[in-house]
């Protein structure tokens, strides 16, 4: 690796440094930020630090463009959530917003400048069929109708196959847990639902978000357990923002560690906390970090995993790659699947994905 903290990571943590950048540095910073899907976040941090006015004209236009795009994404998420609330009025169970939609509706720091691709919700497993029926009657449809995909999701995954709205073109993932039932650990989703709290703008109070500790654990699980690290740094930036925000309450970190143990998610929390601290200098007490380290894998697994994360958590840009970056990303991809499913299910699944990836694909011009 060329350096552990990329120009982008440094600039996100210390936006004031950008005052001294020449145009060549701005060029590199904007490129890293764009590839990492963090241009809007960078722009908002520069604005909050009062640095935006000092940015040279050309890079400033890109930052303004990214802020505009992010603001629009935020509006669209709010609108989607409002529509979803209307569509689900006849249900009497709580609808818990996850990830991006939760950050936006609760006005949490990661929402600022971020881009969103879909809305994720968590519902009680026993209500899943009913939720699906109501959604299908309100204009939602499955995006993947392939029999294999349908079976794969329904049999093994913790969510329904992805849905889209036929008129609004929005996307929706309906979860009944935060990890698949085939994974090496499966947290008890009832605990998450019980601790959920209502969110403003939730109308009659049926819209909710996860409790702060659960929100951090879900984000950590997504990144360090079953996620594919496509947007590794962006997800780490979310985690950092959540930890800084909730961590200002002195009771938060001990609660978080306890909750991780209760849900069996100590390992992802260890990775999340240590990597936030490592890449983004998240202020976390040394003693608390050390206590989490009992969850680390034994040597040499620990160093090996860190060597992989050190590469996969870089912006996915040519300036941040070394000879092992591709291998590291591939190993983590395989690992994320291996943690999700036992090998006898996994191998046929990956073979099928590889086949389709080769013959399916991108748009034509």
């Amino acid at each position: 690796m060329k350096r552990l903290r990329s120009l982008l990571a440094t600039s996100l943590v210390e936006p004031a440094r950008c005052r001294d950048y020449d145009l060549a540095r701005w060029d590199l910073l904007l490129r890293q930020a764009r590839r990492a899907d963090l241009l809007g976040t960078l722009a908002e941090r520069l604005a909050m630090a009062g640095v935006l006015e000092t940015v040279p004209r050309r890079p400033a236009l890109h930052l303004a463009s990214a802020r505009r795009l992010a603001a629009r994404h935020r509006e669209i998420v709010r609108w989607d959530v409002r529509c979803l609330r209307e569509e689900l009025t006849e249900l009497d169970c709580p609808i818990v917003l996850l990830k991006g939609a939760a950050y936006v509706m609760a006005d949490l720091p990661p929402a600022v400048g971020r881009l969103f691709s879909d809305v994720d919700i968590l519902v009680p497993r026993e209500r899943l069929e009913r939720v699906e029926a109501v959604l299908l009657s309100k204009g939602w449809a499955f995006s993947k109708l392939d029999a294999y995909d349908q079976r794969y999701y329904r049999q093994w995954m913790h969510e329904l196959p992805p849905m889209h709205h036929t008129r609004r073109h929005s996307s929706l993932d309906v979860h009944h847990n935060i990890l698949p039932s085939t994974a090496v650990v499966t947290p008890d989703a009832r605990l998450l639902l019980e601790a959920a709290r209502p969110v403003d703008g939730g109308g009659d109070g049926r819209l909710a978000i996860l409790a702060p500790a659960d929100m951090v654990l879900h984000s950590a699980t997504h990144l360090f357990f079953d996620g594919e690290l496509e947007h590794g740094l962006r997800d780490l930036v979310d985690l950092d923002a959540l930890l800084r925000h909730f961590g200002s309450d002195g009771d938060f970190l001990p609660t978080l560690a306890q909750r991780a143990e209760q849900l069996g998610l100590g390992r992802p929390l260890y990775y999340a906390a240590w990597n936030c601290h490592r890449f983004l200098r998240t202020p976390l007490p040394e003693a608390w970090l050390q206590a989490l380290a009992v969850q680390a894998p034994a040597w040499p697994g620990r160093d090996f995993m860190q060597a992989c994360f050190d590469r996969a958590l870089q912006p996915d840009h040519a300036s941040c790659r070394d000879a092992f970056s591709g291998l590291a990303r591939w190993l983590l991809y395989v690992r994320s699947h291996a943690l999700r499913m036992p090998l006898h299910l996994l191998l046929p699944h990956l073979a099928r994905k590889a086949w389709r990836g080769h013959f399916g694909g991108r748009e034509t011009v």
Partner: protein, 304 residues
């Protein structure tokens, strides 16, 4: 320095090794490619454009490289990448230059949200801008290619950049893309027009690009204000027919042709509303270029 200052070997080398920074309208485009036909296309059609090797800062980073794999031996292809991201499937290697033009359209439309970006041909006369919007195949580019050989300045044959801050239209002069029968039509209409390589069998049919006039390239930094909004439509054998169009109707037509309308939200609506308020709006049916030229000449003289 402009492209024409580089001899062909130097141009090819710079393009292959460090990449070129091309100044195209308000953008600096960094282009990196070892493919000889891309260098030839640039030499032929972009001779008057300012260039920096390599650029210190670029707004858009593009590369066009031959695809690897076994296929390169029997069906060579070219891959476009926007600084590591490839949104499109590879195309046959012989289409590398038109692929550059098409990918650049995509880059502008996805990067530059300081503008409302309307799918339109744009020309100017005496500071007053005519925007010819409409669906692909309506004959915008053909009209545009004809107009720039009759005293109109080329802003763009593909997109109107409407500044959200000033309401002005920014020029983005680039080669005009002609398809199929339009190619010979313009060769006859404007024998002085310089054409780039002709690519047959693309997904758009046969395609060729006409070089932007030198004066339009030299004045790329001079914006203008919209005076006329037109929806042209080519209809074989039809006489010239001009109908005034209501402003609300025109606004809806423009919104449907604005690439980033869904991103701009209210700012986009305001920008288009200002355009419509400041312009005369017409629907235009034509088949004979000379007749259409007469109509535009009258517009410029102030008597449509």
């Amino acid at each position: 320095m402009i492209i024409a200052d580089l001899d062909p070997a130097r141009l090819r080398r710079a393009l292959a090794e460090t990449g070129l920074g091309l100044r195209i309208g308000p953008f600096i485009v960094r282009l990196h490619s070892p493919i000889p036909s891309v260098a030839e296309g640039l030499g032929r059609l972009y001779g008057r454009y300012p260039v920096e090797i390599p650029p210190v800062f670029a707004d858009i980073h593009m590369s066009l490289f031959p695809a690897g794999g076994l296929r390169r031996f029997y069906r060579p292809q070219v891959i476009f990448s926007n600084d590591g991201y490839s949104p499109f499937k590879p195309l046959p290697l012989v289409q590398a230059f038109p692929f550059f033009e098409w990918s650049l359209n995509w880059c502008v439309a996805t990067h530059a949200h300081e503008y409302a970006i309307i799918h339109a041909a744009v020309v100017e006369r005496a500071g007053r801008v005519a925007i010819l919007a409409g669906a692909p195949g309506a004959g915008k580019s053909t009209l545009c290619a004809a107009l720039i050989h009759r005293g109109w300045r080329l802003f763009s044959d593909e997109m109107a950049l409407v500044s959200l801050s000033s309401g002005e239209i920014m020029p983005l002069p680039r080669p005009v893309s002609l398809k199929n029968a339009s190619i010979d039509l313009i060769r006859r209409f404007a024998p002085a027009a310089v054409f780039g390589p002709v690519s047959a069998d693309t997904h758009k049919g046969t395609v060729a690009h006409v070089r932007a006039p030198d004066d339009s390239v030299a004045r790329a930094g001079e914006p203008g204000r919209a005076a006329w909004l037109l929806l042209p439509r080519y209809e074989a054998g039809a006489g010239l027919e001009v109908q005034p169009l209501g402003r609300a109707r025109m606004l809806m037509e423009l919104a449907a042709q604005t690439f980033n309308y869904h991103i701009l939200g209210e700012a986009g609506f305001q920008a288009l509303a200002q355009l419509v308020d400041a312009s005369a709006c017409y629907r235009l049916h034509y088949s004979r270029l000379e007749e259409a030229m007469g109509f535009f000449e009258n517009l410029a003289q102030g008597s449509p």
